[in-house]
Subunit: 273 residues, 6 copies
Amino acid sequence: LVNEAALIAARQNRKVVTMHDFEVAKDKVIMGAERKSMMLSDAEKRTTAYHEAGHALVAVMLPEADPLHKVTIIPRGMALGLTMQLPLDDKHSYSKNYLKAQLSILMAGRIAEEMFLQQSTTGAGNDIERATDLARKMVCEWGMSELGPLSFGKKEEQIFLGREIAQHRDYSEETALKIDEQVRKFVDEGYRVARGIIEKHRDALVRIAEALLEREILDGAEVKALIDGQNLTPMSTSNKPKPPSGDSQQVIKPEGGLRIPPIMDGGESPHPA
Amino acid sequence: LVNEAALIAARQNRKVVTMHDFEVAKDKVIMGAERKSMMLSDAEKRTTAYHEAGHALVAVMLPEADPLHKVTIIPRGMALGLTMQLPLDDKHSYSKNYLKAQLSILMAGRIAEEMFLQQSTTGAGNDIERATDLARKMVCEWGMSELGPLSFGKKEEQIFLGREIAQHRDYSEETALKIDEQVRKFVDEGYRVARGIIEKHRDALVRIAEALLEREILDGAEVKALIDGQNLTPMSTSNKPKPPSGDSQQVIKPEGGLRIPPIMDGGESPHPA
Amino acid sequence: LVNEAALIAARQNRKVVTMHDFEVAKDKVIMGAERKSMMLSDAEKRTTAYHEAGHALVAVMLPEADPLHKVTIIPRGMALGLTMQLPLDDKHSYSKNYLKAQLSILMAGRIAEEMFLQQSTTGAGNDIERATDLARKMVCEWGMSELGPLSFGKKEEQIFLGREIAQHRDYSEETALKIDEQVRKFVDEGYRVARGIIEKHRDALVRIAEALLEREILDGAEVKALIDGQNLTPMSTSNKPKPPSGDSQQVIKPEGGLRIPPIMDGGESPHPA
Amino acid sequence: LVNEAALIAARQNRKVVTMHDFEVAKDKVIMGAERKSMMLSDAEKRTTAYHEAGHALVAVMLPEADPLHKVTIIPRGMALGLTMQLPLDDKHSYSKNYLKAQLSILMAGRIAEEMFLQQSTTGAGNDIERATDLARKMVCEWGMSELGPLSFGKKEEQIFLGREIAQHRDYSEETALKIDEQVRKFVDEGYRVARGIIEKHRDALVRIAEALLEREILDGAEVKALIDGQNLTPMSTSNKPKPPSGDSQQVIKPEGGLRIPPIMDGGESPHPA
Amino acid sequence: LVNEAALIAARQNRKVVTMHDFEVAKDKVIMGAERKSMMLSDAEKRTTAYHEAGHALVAVMLPEADPLHKVTIIPRGMALGLTMQLPLDDKHSYSKNYLKAQLSILMAGRIAEEMFLQQSTTGAGNDIERATDLARKMVCEWGMSELGPLSFGKKEEQIFLGREIAQHRDYSEETALKIDEQVRKFVDEGYRVARGIIEKHRDALVRIAEALLEREILDGAEVKALIDGQNLTPMSTSNKPKPPSGDSQQVIKPEGGLRIPPIMDGGESPHPA
Amino acid sequence: LVNEAALIAARQNRKVVTMHDFEVAKDKVIMGAERKSMMLSDAEKRTTAYHEAGHALVAVMLPEADPLHKVTIIPRGMALGLTMQLPLDDKHSYSKNYLKAQLSILMAGRIAEEMFLQQSTTGAGNDIERATDLARKMVCEWGMSELGPLSFGKKEEQIFLGREIAQHRDYSEETALKIDEQVRKFVDEGYRVARGIIEKHRDALVRIAEALLEREILDGAEVKALIDGQNLTPMSTSNKPKPPSGDSQQVIKPEGGLRIPPIMDGGESPHPA
């Protein structure tokens, strides 16, 4: 990390490594390098902005969720945008309410696209997969559904390479049907809650999305201010390093990304647009 | 690419590499070398022409689809013909409407054969497989069907060789049935829309097919002109390099191929006849 | 091929390689060496003759089928007999009518055994497997059944050794049932059509079968003559090379075999008795 | 074979290799060495004798079956006894009637045990497995059942080591049910036919079984004589080599075994008791 | 074996190897070494005694079963106790009645625990697994159930390492249901028969169990005497070698174990408590 | 163990290895090293305390369960807390009543969270998995359910690496349904019993949980005293080694953990919070 920060400073011919260099370096290490070279059309930027605004708004409005850290529409890794939450403390277990909040946050991107752009895109595919996976675990591993404190499916994991190869189905077709119903119920509820929040805060969502289109990145306080109807302070360039030339252009603007803390498998889980 | 273009010019004993050489080289790189050696019977040429004309007509008529670039009945790779669309900009995510347009375009080849040649051939097999695959993803991965924002089936991909080995079915038989219904619904709708367009523009389709039989290749503007009922300018040979002898014969006629931009998995997806 | 023809001439101590040598060599390369050493009982020869006569008669009577080239009851490879069709031109795609004709031709061998010998034998096993396979592809890959232009089943082919390992079933039990019905429908129709033809041309089939028992091989023209009720010219030996001694005995009689052109997978598909 | 025959003569200190030596050698090569060392209790010998007598009687009485060659209760390989048929000529395909006769012969051993010894034993397990396998092939591969000329199940054979790994089930549950019914029908019919024959020839079966207990081996003519109610000529020892000492004791009595010709997979198929 | 017997004598500083040494050696070779070091609580000893007494009583009372040889509550290998039967002669096939008797004997351990100790323990798990396996083979391999002489399930055994990998299910769901019913029927009947015997001979079972707790091992004659209500001769120490010191303590008491002869797969099958 | 104890003493510069050192060493060997470095938030500590208090209370109140040894909320290995029982003697088999008690103890953690903290967390996931696994074995391996003394599912274990790869399902769908019902019945009953105990001893549970929050570890006697309404003696520091500096800080406080004795597979089974 220190190395990365030093490199950033060096590329800009500065001798002092600032805290800002560290923040940029941290984001790079955690989220993957930015991909400025990935050219998005205006339409895709707009889609991404509303999608991420959905995630961000719902993350702020749900008290059980971790606080919003940052939201951005600068592509990183495979994602066109990111919403990042910062947990108040390291979590070792998660409550049902926390998980339900995550389901709502995951649904919010698709909902925002539907409500404001009258479309649904493939970009929500990862959100949908993660939400379904989470809901399935709530039902099948954590005993949080109406099916009660039983586990369903036997993991076969350590055989080759220590990886889970197959979730062995050891239950009846009728049980499979009940599991499907309970999974759907969790996802549907997450959708309904998220939709309720977004419908109630239509203007706020538009303000967040438009601010994202203008600034590309917002932190939690800025999002809250927008929700409260305040104006953001005009964009200043003074507190940002000047755009360097060449490939260091990627550090022109300090950015970060809001991301949901890893709640499953220890895997990283950014919100792609 | 530059190499390929230089080679083309060299084979024709020209010292100047023209833009045309580049276009030919680009097509060769993207679509695979032409296969002039593949002898098609007149009947197969006719089938291919009507099949491709179907793809081309529907691609032009659907506003959500990418613009038509070229359509050809010169065999390339495994395909007897190709229809190529050019996206207005690089896409990173696809809207439901765009995907539905693709389904219609994929169905259009089979429909044209049925309506004008009173037959259906195995040549549409790849179109059908791709359409079904696309529709299945819309339902199972992208949450675009009446089943809502849930994913169905767990991919097991990275185990050996980084390839997807199996789409693990982790849902009930009843859910499998609903998925089948939704997949069918998407494909059927694509078929219905395409059929409606072709029935409404019967004469245009015949004109495109017949022009293809005469010229073997048409660009988007020519197809649009034919749809508008205009005559194409008589085939001139002046703006084409003279047929060289030997194996360079394959560059006699500058050709290209219309192809649908890759919308799935980053894979190439030409429309075979 | 030239080599093989030269060898044939050499074995007979001839200095001139005749067209006939080429035909024999071609048959050997395409169909595998004859197996004169495989001793068939008279009963098995009779079974084979009627079986092949069934294939041949139906192949001639169906206008959509490729023309009959040869039919033989001399064993080759694993087959006790062969019926060979010659396509008018190389085909790259096949129409539904062509495929339905193939289904009828495949069924005709079993039918002839049933009608004329009052038996059914294991010898039709390969015909049945190929017909079922073909019908299944018409339903599941080529969208030619009432199930419409959808594909069913996901091929998993390139994983190990580039071979198709499993046709992954990704559809519901109800869809499986519909597929079974459509496959049966195609096979049953092929059976019905073939039976109709054979019942209408009972005498012709007997004439073909008896001529096969006498001559062991017939070409398309001879089969047509027999269907028309004409007598074949008496067997002459003048236009045949004299039986050489030793292992070259296998070229005593120029023979060939009628075979259906490969319509699936590029695989060879002779009609075994 | 010649070697084996010479060895047999040598072990008995004879200089002349007799035809009898050849017969013994042939049986040894085909059926595996006798296992005189396997000690059967009198009860097991009796069970074996009636079991084999059942196979032998039905084999003789069914005109479609190959003629009976020998029947023995001397253990060979894994079998406690053997019934061997000799085909009139090499068969390359089998008729439905021939196969139905085989089913009856396979059932006859179990039936004889049930009727005469009021028991059923595990010894019929192999007969049952082979009969079921044969009936299943008649239904699923050879199109001989009411399900008609379709094949069911896709063999996956050549992948690893050239062996059939799995009979891939590619049909619906309803089709599976119909297959089960048809398989049962064939086996039940075989059972019924065999039982009818044995009930009608109760005395003959007892005569064959008792003769087997006395002589351990009978040839086809002897079995027929017993069926016709004739007495066998008293056992003479003159035409048998004298029991040598030591391990050559195993050739004291020239023996053979009746075995059904391989009708499936080219595999050997002795009738174990 | 001789070695082992000599060692036993040597450990006790005796020069003469007695028949008793041989018996001890034989038991060690066949059943695995005793595990005196495995400390059982009094409660577990009691459970084991009643469990084994159940096996022993039923083994004696069923005429179709092999005669009882020994019964012990000294742990050996994985088993807390053993009941051993000695077949009258080597068996190569087993009758249905013999197998049904085995089912009853297998059930008897659990029943004795239930009736006399009002409990059921995990110790009967192996009995249950073996009984179910046996009943399943009676239905699926040996054609002994109401489903008749058909086999169900295709063994796939020789592929890797010569081991049975999977019993491939090649039948319909309805057939699976019928198989389950027949398997249950066999096990239930075994349970009912065993329970009837134990209820009728309650006192005998208690006598056997209490004698086992006192003596740890009983032979067949002693068990029969106890069933007949006789007293066992008081335990004498004269005919037993004196307890040596050190690790030879394990031969203080000559012991053996009653075990059911291997009726399946040639595998060993001791009755664990 | 001795080594470990000596190391502990050495790290504290003591020359005498005390019994306490041995206890700490034993716990470390058995339960894995403590993880003081794992920082839990106050909320997580509270959740863990109530969760473990649930396990401990029910373990004490059920007479069939092994006596409670210790309960702790100091993280060890993957667990946030542990409840450890000490069996009165080594068990080699387990009675149904003992297993039912274990099911209740396993359920008690989740119940305590629900009743006192109005939440359910992912932390109970392992309890749920183990309870389901145990109940499934009671039904499928040990014949303790209404389905009777049959086993369900065939283990395929020794094939690769000696590990159980798959529990092969060899029963019908209807049987699968019945198994699901019986498994659920066992788990539900365990839940009901545990809930009854906790509701009846609400105050005791709160006292245990609060004492855990204060002291982090309690032994069986302390838990019983709390249940009886007694006060614990005030925490003294005299009988504890002083906190050393550096990484030996991990032995500041002697701790242990209550753990359920391994009842399945010989595997360790700590109760995680």
